[in-house]
């Protein structure tokens, strides 16, 4: 376990360093006044001279590169990710306001797609080689090929435009003054389509992984023993084979937990869902560079945290992991 965490700590440090240097160096490589290249021409037009002067001072933009680097890290330690000209607020605050929506979307769809994927994978692997297994495999692989934003668009067209039963955009009805149960229902209605798109798009990876492991696990001698003991089908399938097929899925879920924050990007854009992905998109449209940099850094930290948690849960699920390292 100690070996593992040392190695991972190095990986995390390199990842953070790469992102920080990208955020720091990229705008400063561009020709022109640093304030302009960091914040963009559009931003400068809208900023008051006082704000411009304050930003130059805060990030030492009139000093040498080394002093800028120092100021950059000093600001990071204060939690200062820069200033968003479009939202007229500190980047950190803008991102924090959007984060809960993305977490809600990611959490729900990740839970749904993992549970469904594992169950389908166990059932399919159990029946390996049969007609049911083959059609499930082909069907889910085909589903896997549909880009998440196209799945979202189709759902939007069917349920929002043609049937008109679900809202087209946003996370709640604006200015509705709803509260309590009505508000929860309203939010759930807005969540239905984005969550379904993401669940459908990510269902296949959990399924394929579980099915593959299931096929290998079913050949293990302990399965024969369990069968010889006269255990019921359900116990064999879920307690013995299923549980042992779950390990890779946990790893993958952890990777997805990080990746889903970026995976939600397209779906959030299709549904104008006010999470981090849509925020990044707006920042790209309005060239609000500081916001994109902030999102990049924050998402990276979230991904690293998720990876760390996966490592922890891995040794819980499989005791051999912690003995072996």
């Amino acid at each position: 376990m100690r070996m593992l965490s040392k190695r991972n700590a190095l990986t995390y440090a390199i990842a953070l360093l790469l992102i920080l240097s990208l955020n720091f160096i990229l705008p400063r490589l561009m020709p022109g006044d640093p304030l302009m290249t960091i914040y963009g021409r559009e931003a400068l037009v809208q900023m008051s001279p006082q704000l411009q002067a304050e930003l130059v001072h805060r990030f030492s933009l009139d000093q040498t590169l080394w002093q800028q680097l120092g100021a950059y890290f000093a600001a990071l330690f204060r939690g200062d990710l820069g200033y968003s000209y479009y939202y007229n607020a500190p980047v950190f605050q803008v991102i924090l306001g959007r984060l809960p929506w993305t977490l809600l979307l990611v959490g729900l769809s990740l839970a749904l797609s993992t549970v469904l994927g594992v169950v389908l994978g166990i059932e399919s692997g159990w029946r390996r080689g049969t007609r049911t297994d083959r059609s499930m495999l082909a069907g889910l692989m085909a589903l896997n090929g549909f880009p998440d934003f196209f799945v979202g668009i189709v759902l939007l067209l069917v349920f929002g435009v043609i049937l008109g039963v679900l809202p087209l955009a946003g996370a709640m009805t604006p200015y509705s003054g709803l509260s309590g149960g009505a508000l929860v229902l309203d939010v759930l209605k807005h969540l239905a389509l984005p969550v379904t798109s993401l669940t459908l798009a990510h269902l296949a990876s959990g399924y394929l992984l579980t099915r593959n492991t299931m096929i290998t696990v079913l050949k293990e001698p302990y399965m024969l023993t369990a069968r010889a003991k006269g255990l019921s089908q359900r116990l064999l399938k879920y307690r013995h084979a299923g549980r042992n097929s779950m390990l890779p899925v946990v790893t993958m879920t952890g990777i997805w937990l990080g990746r889903l924050v970026t995976g939600t990007l397209f779906v959030e854009i299709v549904f104008s869902f006010p999470g981090l992905g849509y925020l990044t998109y707006e920042a790209l449209l309005f060239r609000d560079y500081a916001v994109i940099q902030g999102v990049l850094l924050l998402v990276a930290v979230l991904v690293l945290a998720a990876n760390f948690l996966v490592d922890l849960s891995y040794s819980r699920l499989d005791p051999r992991v912690s003995y072996a390292r």
Binding site: R7, L10, T11, Y12, I14, A15, L18, I19, L22, N23, L26, P27, M30, R128, G129, D133, R134, L137, A138, M141, A142, N144, G145, F146, P147, F149, F150, I153, V154, L156, L157, V161, N212, I215, T216, G258, R259, V261, T262, L265, F266, I269, V270, T280, Y281, A283, L284, L285, R287, Y289, I292, Q293, V295, L296, V299, A300, V303, L304, N307
Partner: protein, 281 residues
């Protein structure tokens, strides 16, 4: 690695479907100028035409022929997919084999960088870089390749490590073969099937990313892309034009990605022979 890759693919029905669908799209892309009939960029006053004989998929908001855009879009998707697939696989092969053969400090440094690249949110990096550079197709290809080789490098390294222990490699080494000679004559040729699978999956990711980036507005302004068509069509989703404007591009993109997925999956017994017989349906 003595596996007949062609047999693996052609002996599974999803594999055969994948090859057939992929071939159709390649033909569309190759004969785009013949099939299009109109210049896909040329605008006309006839906007929002419904499908007809002269415009099989109607026209869009600025009077461009949608069928023409669709077939030219196939070119962009395939060009980006194949180029990124080749470049990333090449990078993965170089990094993976060198890490396995040289080992030591070099190996651990390189693999930590690979791990770091795996956890970095690639798409936000792309958006940030694209926001600054306003890229064309070649910069998109280079960016996607530079950010797409890390997973492959890990697989290649693992495989090269086990090949290194094989008897014929050990024999060559005992006759005094150097690292470079070993890489060229023994390791890389034996890695062939794995590199091919890696190429297929990188190509799939690149096709998806190119369309996704174009969908959110990051694309070469001089080229047609399925992502651009979908982006433009989304703005008019309240009109009844999506049926022949939005859906064909989305279906074409999905068909291409599904076909690549099927080809890749039917190759997978190469990576994990335990799946053979049962997985290839």
């Amino acid at each position: 690695m003595h596996v007949d890759l062609k047999k693996e693919v052609t002996h599974s029905s999803p594999g055969r479907f994948g090859i057939a669908a992929f071939a159709v799209i390649v033909l569309l892309a190759l004969f785009a100028p013949l099939l299009a009939g109109y210049d896909p960029i040329a605008q006309s006053v006839h906007s929002f035409l419904a499908p007809s004989w002269s415009h099989p998929l109607g026209t869009n908001h600025v009077g461009q022929d949608i069928w023409g855009q669709l077939v030219y879009g196939a070119r962009t998707s395939l060009l980006v997919g194949i180029s990124v697939g080749l470049l990333s696989t090449l990078l993965a092969a170089i990094v993976g084999t060198s890490a396995a053969l040289i080992g030591g400090v070099y190996d651990s440094i390189v693999m930590r960088v690979v791990d770091a690249l795996i956890v970095i949110p690639i798409i936000i990096v792309l958006i940030l870089v694209a926001a600054y550079l306003r890229p064309n197709m070649w910069t998109i290809i280079v960016l996607l390749s530079l950010l797409g080789w890390q997973g492959g490098a890990r697989i290649v390294r693992a495989q090269a490590l086990s090949l290194k222990e094989e008897l014929h490699v050990a024999a060559a080494r005992s006759f005094g073969a150097g690292t470079r000679y070993l890489m060229r004559r023994h390791i890389v040729p034996d890695l062939g099937p794995i590199l091919l699978v890696e190429f297929v999956y990188t190509m799939r990711r690149a096709v998806f990313m190119e369309a996704g980036l174009a969908f959110i507005g990051i694309s070469d302004p001089n080229l047609m892309s399925w992502g651009v068509i979908m982006r433009e069509a989304m703005e008019y989703s309240y009109l009844n034009v999506w049926a022949w404007w939005l859906l064909p591009a989305g279906i074409a993109l999905s068909l291409l990605i599904v076909s690549i997925t099927f080809i890749g999956h039917s190759m997978e017994p190469v990576m994990d022979p335990r799946l053979r017989g049962e997985a290839s349906a």
